[in-house]
Assembly symmetry: C2
Homo-oligomer: 560 residues x 2
């Protein structure tokens, strides 16, 4: 069956309200992923039964129509409230995967800035966004284009500091085509991998030219929701002065790397050296000729070990507690990014929007199937790297099911390293490695490992990752609210740190949570860019009084 | 004849060195405009004779080849040194207009930034650019992409101040699609006409993210050329400290609006009010309830009159000495810009580069022919405006030959107003008008006009324009060098302030001058963007030792 024909059948079934017929156009286990258009949520229906249930709840109000093919895969459509874009994968006569996304609201489309410079009225913002990194900024930019008054509160003194204040050698590991901010892409000559300060400067500029309402030096202190008024009371310290904001909605865009996980190591109090989480580690210059121990084996750990070694540390030892996925940067570029986010992709006419929607069109349940062959090829292409890591005793794998970095990122948000030099140093023995151990105790000038051995240590860096973003809700709002919302991120894949049941979408991200008017925004640069659109549309709909009742807000299965 | 066939004949004639045959492919009065590729200059050959002379001097060294049509109008080609793009207008079997442009130098193409953050060596810059407005910045950005060390010295404290420090109501009058900077276009939602501060902020950001070597608070004090060493000695004051620079090349990018023309009015010393050039006028708030006289009738005069009136001046009188071209902004957008620089043009696939090259493909001698019908249509469409101006006594025309604003701009750089409200105020009598008069004398509290009448005056603003850019050469270098270079701008059209003989290109702009290693860059935003490429390529060629002897550097006919 041709895609145009399937769309024709699908559209007419929906228009006559024939839910059963519409569902039967899917494979029995077919997928329909909807970003806002039908469900006012971010939701994957898996199988005909879930498709039927969703349509039963939403079809009458959504009134979808006008399914127009644009190519064999892409189509446009309309609903009562908006216009959208979709993607279709057919297998024979049935749909294997369908993606529907809302792109704009009728009557509330993004507008060109009139440029008359009138300052916005001094009213309360409709949305307060806590966190002014790339996620908070991307969302604020979308909201501004939609005419939703939004205020970003950023604790640092300058926009971009969330990048500048990281360790000196931090560099973007995702290539530039993956990293564009909305509306203002990097120029063509931008480095493929931007150093942190350059990213920080770009973000600082972005906030300014996009005219975001953005308060620096403004940590958020607390927030509480008044259910009757449906307003948040958000207390911030603006340049040291307390200010109370009363937005309708609160978005936590505090970042995947916002809330450090710092292990409590016995003896830390008596340790005479410096012990610090990777997020507070300044960089290697001070540690020349010193004994350095880095706990962890993912990105931060590798980058920090490399930096310490280059700066002349006497010895740098990585303490690897569990396996890490390692992939060479160039290989990942060629085999993983290449088809969608690369110079070649741009040359083939793949726009950022197309690439983002293509990624979005792959249901999370199916992603491993798409990725496992890619990682088999990666393993093969870089056999020398993996042989070297084996010899050095470094523990690596390609994910619980071989589905690689992106899957792991969705499940856990961590646990991988994109090799840009540190792996080679490990192989060459320039970075020392102790694997399958952890730090059991700190002594005055050394660390005792779980195998009983002792390492001299002037510096211990805990590159031990970050906690669930709902810890921010606990910190700023209340434990009660944090528990009401539950764990943020992960898919319920029943792999390490991502316990089941399967929920099919990233928990609590970019969509309604169990706490009314509380939202989470973030992810990597691609997700921050792409999903900022859908979150902005949901907020705009509420501001304009467009009926936007979310279908099936996921219940909470885990608290963290 | 099809364009592809003409190109075939042309290419083969050139390849076998048959200059006569190549020239015969042109109409007897046909035009060939070359931007660097053949002439290492910016040069229009008019007629077969000039074509032959140019080829006789350049063909052997240029070795053009590989003329490949891309469409009916556009083609690519190569020379010994580079790759280019060209445009062809055929009439029957002959070429009416040919454009050839160098786009890149073989072996010295623009590169992607490696992003490794290595600071440039602390050497002398190869090029010093005096003036850090949009012109200086555009050139600096191009040079950076080509690996030519260049330093911009800007007298103001912040990049963008050349915009910020203008009168408050200043707004861009050219639409956004015309105004993009190289490499980093404005986002899609940017206002069609940016207010001055927004433009200033964009430029400040531009200098930063494009990583230009840019010194603020650094006025240039003097410069002199050492012919033997072929080096300039450029003295600047950097944050109050004297610094001497020794570049190979000096570019004056001081702007069309850089050197005010301030008339000496008898009695100015005894005048008790404020008399100021428009460039130093702060804005209307201080002049509420005051008597204001504005001398001049072009853009600045209209903007300032409007602003003074809105701010509550008791009376605002415009003193119009000579006719001004007036066109409504929307009409200009529709009828003049629309085909090339508009939302519609973008939607039709006209890129900025295509638009720029299309404008460049029209020889200056032919431009009036293209423009006169446009202005006839404008006159007709806005008959009401012109009737109103007639009634108010405002003197307008459509250029000496009816060829409108862009022609006038090329000839004189001034003398027009794009109506965004002030003309209507004149028609309504809210701005008073005295035309065909000038200010003869200032008294203590009034101005006496050339018709003997007296106007009370607390403020006299001389919106009397700016002088030729070679005045900067006189100021910074010497009168001798300024005279050696001669008048900057204008075409030799034998119209007001643009005396003949016809030179066919803008005098001294973006190309070699009679002073070795001295260049001028600037123009409006479109010209600053487009011609920065050709100037940068000429400088790069010299830096790399590529033979780049300019064909026919125009002799000087006028000193100012």
């Amino acid at each position: 069956m041709r895609p145009a024909d399937w769309l024709q059948l699908f559209g007419t079934a929906l228009e006559r309200g024939d839910i059963a017929a519409a569902a039967d156009l899917f494979e029995p286990g077919g997928y329909w992923r909807d970003l806002v258009a039908f469900t006012w949520n971010i939701k994957t229906c898996e199988g005909r039964g879930e498709v039927k249930a969703m349509l039963a709840a939403t079809l009458a109000a959504v009134r979808p129509r006008n399914f127009v093919p644009k190519s064999d895969e892409w189509f446009s459509f309309e609903t009562a409230a908006g216009r959208g874009v979709g993607h279709l994968r057919l297998r024979g006569r049935h749909c294997r995967t369908l993606l529907t996304t809302l792109q704009e609201l009728k009557g509330f489309e993004e507008t060109r800035d009139p440029g008359n410079g009138r300052p916005s009225e001094a009213t309360q913002p409709y949305v307060v966004i806590v966190g002014g990194g790339q996620g908070g900024m991307a969302l604020a930019a979308r909201l501004k284009r939609l005419g939703v008054p939004a205020l970003v509160v950023e604790k640092h003194a300058r926009a971009g500091d969330s990048w500048r204040k990281r360790y000196a050698s931090l560099c973007l590991h995702d290539p530039v085509w993956y990293d564009h901010m909305p509306y203002l892409p990097f120029p063509d000559h931008w480095p493929v991998f931007s150093p942190k300060d350059r990213m920080g400067d770009w973000l600082e500029m972005y906030a300014k030219v996009m005219e975001l309402d953005y308060w620096t030096s403004t940590p958020c202190v607390s927030a509480s929701f008044d259910r009757e008024k449906e307003l948040w009371e958000v207390k911030v310290m603006r340049n040291g002065e307390p200010v109370t904001l009363r937005p309708r909605h609160l978005v936590l865009a505090t970042g995947m790397s916002g809330f450090p996980s710092i292990p409590r190591i016995p003896g830390a109090d008596g340790f005479e050296g410096r012990i610090v989480h990777s997020s507070a580690h300044d960089g290697g210059a001070a540690w020349k000729d010193k004994q350095c121990v880095v706990v962890g084996s993912s990105t931060s750990a590798h980058d920090i070990c490399e930096d310490l070694h280059r700066q002349g540390a006497a010895q740098v030892t990585m303490i690897q507690r569990a396996p890490t996925i390692v992939v060479r940067s160039g290989t990942l570029m060629d085999l993983a990014w290449g088809p969608l986010y690369s110079e070649q992709a741009v040359a083939r006419g793949i726009t950022t929007a197309t690439a983002d929607l293509t990624v979005a069109s792959i249901p999370f349940r199916l992603l491993p199937e798409f990725q496992i062959p890619v990682y088999a090829a990666i393993r093969d292409r870089d056999a020398d790297l993996y042989a070297g890591l084996d010899k050095a005793g470094f523990l690596y794998d390609f994910g619980a099911d071989g589905s690689g970095i992106h899957s792991l990122y969705l499940r856990r948000g961590a646990g991988y390293y994109i090799e840009t030099g540190a792996s080679q140093m490990i192989i060459e023995g320039r970075i020392k490695l102790r694997s399958r151990v952890s730090v059991e105790r700190l002594n005055r000038k050394s660390a005792t490992l779980s195998d009983g051995t002792e390492l001299p240590a002037d510096l211990v860096v805990c590159a031990t990752g970050y906690g669930s973003m709902n810890q921010w809700a606990a910190e700023l709002i209340s434990q009660e609210v944090a528990d009401r919302v539950g764990k943020v991120w992960g898919l319920g894949s029943d792999t390490k740190q991502d316990p089941g049941p399967w929920v099919g979408e990233l928990r609590n991200m970019w969509k309604p949570t169990q706490q009314p008017n509380l939202w989470f925004h973030g992810g990597n640069l691609m997700q921050s860019r792409h999903y900022s659109l859908y979150l902005a549309l949901q907020l705009k709909a509420r501001m304009e009084g467009i009926p936007a009742r979310a279908y099936h807000v996921e219940p909470v299965h885990h608290l963290s």
